[in-house]
């Protein structure tokens, strides 16, 4: 857009933001002063333990006063927690689908086995501004720094909670936590003793079966083991034809937790393998359109093992050592034949200095070995890479005014084999004027470091007919369209300015708002060069030639209307001036209703709205409004039967079109399934 339009656009945006800011300030001011006269009235204090029986008390988890775990209400960042109950009652059958209830997160299904998930813009099959961890193990692929969501799974009943932090979490978590961090935390083995059998079947979910058994090990520990298999059907393409993209996967694993005095220990591992059918649009000289569809079976597999030891020292300090090994394999015929091994060691120490400083510092080392074999359309040069990542971080939570004002400053220091030394500092301030309201604000810098794929790839993506000037006149010549990494990419950088407020105006209502302004630099885009005599192909060279800004906000509200009925609302807004990649949906909203009709009968609804967006080629992807419904029934104490309907409002909905790899996308349609869960 030209300079004049840009100016009016910016001014308009500024006016909007000032208006919204003024509104927020006035409203929260009203909130804090108005309830004061009401507080003077007699307070009815019914302690939380008042009506708990011995059984209830024995089942509560204790955060002992000595281990200062930071409650999420005191975090100076935009945090959202998905609980196990949220997962169970939402009717989702995969982790990415559970993320749809989080404000600021965009989830789009590409085909039956692929998702594009991001926070605050920049989505894609290889969205890479989000750091994802499962129990402390980093799960993004070193090949593209993105997450292959098809293999991030476990028995959903074993997930304790999913913590989502929007905004750079680089200070503690490291590079690639540019727009957010997702922490998937599984249950402690002591919480999963006994047996569990789960079975599901429906029109899309052809069959899922899961088994888990856990037992205590004396007085000091517990262990569990699980197995899961699922078979998912195909979806429909944009032309409403069967997409032939069904997939299945088997996995198993274990987790052992032990505690003895001041030491606690965890050992866990998983192993999985599966097959996914996908159709790609591949270059084909013999076809009139120079492309044809090729359907093949992608094979995936992998395993991991992780151990963590935590030792509590006197006076509120603790030391923690974590080691893990992760192996993944992915074979996409024609495109990828990759094996990746990761070894990671992390040390963390947390301690207090007087009543003022709460310091956490640590260091880590990660070795990543990414081995590839050249395929028909994609090669990497070098094919095999062994990369070292050294990191250290420190963070100080300074109590400026006891119980009221905290200043948190810290930085992460990393050295990687692509860009060398990177520093990611952040400063945050937290203000709690009373126990019902918290304000926070932050400034941070975060980077995304290049991956093996971005730096060293060469992909023959398509064949494009180009008019060429030849001695005989203008001729149309089919030219390969090549995407290539330059071998020396720089890190993408973001400066993020954020602020938010968390308020609990009533016992049963809580509201969480966050706003952000992100300024990106050195974003990776393409530099396209047309064919020449010495370069008989179109060269799209990856370069750090783009910048951009995003601006937006999120709102999450949780309201227990009356005891058996809970409503949860999530809303996000984003506007971007970045010309890299896709354009995110401006508005997203999610409203969940959980109703306990009787003690044993649950009726849950989940409505979602996602605005239209643009894919990486600037084609429109239509917005949609959809609804999921679930009926859950507990006929006897240990048995739960549920009936779930998903995406009920449309026959077929295309949610995304992927960049880089020309996967034929398919759309989600109406799903119905029945599920039985039995505890013994």
């Amino acid at each position: 857009m030209n300079e004049k339009n840009k100016k009016t656009y910016l001014i308009e945006r500024l006016e909007n933001s000032i208006g919204a800011l003024a509104l927020a300030v006035v409203s929260t001011f009203l909130l804090t002063i108005l309830p004061v006269p009401l507080q003077a009235a007699e307070e009815v204090q019914e302690p939380g333990v008042a009506n708990l029986t011995l059984e209830d008390l024995m089942s509560l988890e204790v955060t002992s006063a000595s281990r200062k775990s930071q409650s999420l209400a005191n975090t100076a960042a935009a945090v959202f927690v998905i609980t196990q109950d949220d997962i169970r009652r939402s009717g989702v059958t995969s982790i990415p689908d559970a993320l749809r209830m989080v404000p600021g997160i965009t989830v789009a299904k590409i085909n039956s086995s692929s998702w594009a998930v991001t926070a605050r813009g920049f989505n894609g099959l290889f969205a890479r501004k989000l750091l994802v961890l499962i129990d402390g193990r980093c799960v993004y692929s070193p090949l593209f720094s993105g997450v292959f969501w098809d293999v991030q799974d476990t028995l959903l009943e074993d997930i304790e909670r999913i913590e989502v932090i929007r905004g750079p979490g680089a200070t503690i978590w490291g590079a690639n936590a540019v727009n957010g961090v997702i922490n998937i935390i599984t249950k402690n083995a002591s919480d999963t003793t006994g047996g569990l059998v789960v079975g599901e079947a429906g029109n899309y979910d052809r069959g899922t079966v899961g088994v888990r058994y856990g037992t205590a090990l004396g007085e000091w520990g517990s262990v569990r083991a699980y197995g899961k298999y699922f078979n998912r059907s195909e979806l429909k393409t944009e032309s409403n034809l069967a997409a032939d993209d069904g997939w299945d996967q088997a996995r198993g694993g274990f987790r052992l937790d032990g505690k003895s005095g001041a030491d606690s220990f965890t050992l866990q591992g998983d192993i999985y393998g599966g097959t996914e059918r996908e159709t790609f649009n591949v270059p084909d000289l013999n076809s009139p359109s120079f492309s044809s569809n090729s359907t093949n079976d992608t094979k995936v597999g992998g395993g991991n093992i992780l151990s963590r030891w935590t030792h509590s020292l006197a006076d509120d300090s603790e030391v923690s050592l974590q080691l893990y090994y992760d192996r993944t394999l992915r074979d996409i015929p024609g495109f990828l034949n990759e094996q990746c091994n990761t070894f990671d060691a992390d040390l963390l120490h947390r301690f207090q200095v007087g009543k003022i400083h709460d310091i956490v510092w640590g260091g880590g080392y990660r070795y990543t070995e990414d081995d590839n074999t050249a395929t028909q359309y994609l090669t990497l040069n070098p094919e095999n890479r062994g990369d070292n990542l050294y990191s250290a971080f420190i963070q100080d939570d300074i109590t400026v005014v006891q119980e009221k004002v905290h200043l948190i400053i810290g930085s992460k220091f990393e050295h990687n084999d692509y860009t060398g030394f990177e520093v990611q500092p952040s400063a945050r301030i937290l203000w709690t004027p009373n126990e019902k309201i918290t304000f926070w604000s932050s400034v941070s810098r975060a980077v995304h470091t290049p991956s093996h794929g971005e730096s060293d790839v060469r992909l023959e993506q398509s064949i494009v007919p180009i008019p060429i000037q030849t001695p005989g006149g203008v001729q149309t010549v089919p030219m390969p369209n090549i995407i290539q990494g330059p071998g020396n990419l720089l890190a993408e950088e973001v400066m993020a300015y954020e602020a938010g407020v968390r308020v609990q105006p009533r016992e049963k209502l809580s509201i969480d708002m966050a706003g952000f302004y992100n300024k990106y630099n050195r974003l990776v885009g393409y530099n396209t060069e047309f064919p020449t005599a010495s370069q008989p192909f179109i060269l799209n060279l990856l370069q750090n030639n783009l910048k951009g800004e995003t601006f937006g906000g999120e709102l999450a509200a949780d309201w227990r209307v009356f005891n058996p009925w809970r409503l949860a609302l999530a809303y996000s807004y984003i506007t971007t001036s970045a010309s890299a990649g896709d354009t995110p949906p401006a508005h997203q909203a999610s409203l969940r209703s959980q109703l306990n009709i009787t003690e044993n009968l649950e009726f849950d609804l989940w409505g979602r709205y996602v605005d239209q967006c643009k894919d990486y080629l600037s084609n429109n992807v239509a917005g949609y409004l959809t609804l999921d419904a679930r009926l859950g029934w507990r006929p006897v104490k240990r048995l739960e039967v549920s009936l779930v309907g998903r995406n009920l409002l449309h026959q077929r909905q295309q949610e995304y079109r992927p960049e880089f790899l020309q996967i034929i996308p398919s759309g989600v349609g109406r799903e119905v399934y029945g599920k039985v869960t039995w505890n013994f």
């Binding site: 919204a20 333990v49 008390l57 609990q504 105006p505 509201i511």
Partner: protein
């Protein structure tokens, strides 16, 4: 037709304002906070009292259920939570005592882990009194205490010494015995 773009633009702030206005109208009640270790232990103490039976009900104070803490008070939240609870309609009072001489005025004594070294003497002095002894120090029941709260990984449970309970002419309900992690008979 012009209304819809306008509504969309202001939908978010409008929604926020509506929610906030609605929120301001209600008076404050106690906030639902996550319970800490000593709040949970206070809950246990209440349940122990509810499931125990004392021999002589005639002398009992009709208004108040008195609890004593012998030794260093483990935590303010422990005392505050106990004081906020009610025992069968009666208010619970918590008093900090320094010696067992005052014990006869109480129905339940919480013996703090600070008194570990004095435990055999304390229990001997309380022998003839119908006072329920409770503690969270390790080895309490083994040493002759009646109900000892114990830490199990990241949860709390308890043990019972039946002999000690019987000697004080008290009795504990079978439900309480059933859920005990261990029962000592001597």
């Amino acid at each position: 037709m012009k209304f819809f773009p306008l509504l969309r633009k202001y939908l978010a702030p409008l929604l926020i304002l509506l929610l906030l206005m609605f929120a301001v109208a209600e008076p404050k009640r106690s906030s639902g906070e996550k319970l800490d270790e000593f709040q949970i232990k206070a809950g246990f103490v209440l349940n122990f009292a509810l499931l125990a039976e004392w021999p002589d009900e005639s002398q009992v104070d009709k208004e108040v259920f008195p609890i004593a803490i012998l030794g260093k008070v483990p935590s303010n939240s422990f005392v505050n939570t106990l004081r906020a609870l009610t025992f069968r309609g009666k208010k619970i009072t918590v008093k900090h005592i320094e010696s067992t001489e005052e014990a006869k005025n109480f129905r339940l004594i919480f013996i703090s882990s600070s008194e570990r070294s004095q435990l055999p003497v304390i229990l001997k002095e309380l022998h003839h009194q119908s006072v329920l002894t409770v503690s969270d120090m390790s080895g309490f029941c083994e040493a002759g205490g009646m109900v000892g709260m114990i830490s199990l990984q990241n949860r709390i449970g308890y043990e019972v010494n039946r002999a000690a309970v019987r000697k004080a002419r008290l009795s504990l309900s079978s439900q309480m015995l059933k859920l005990a992690k261990k029962i000592y008979e001597n």
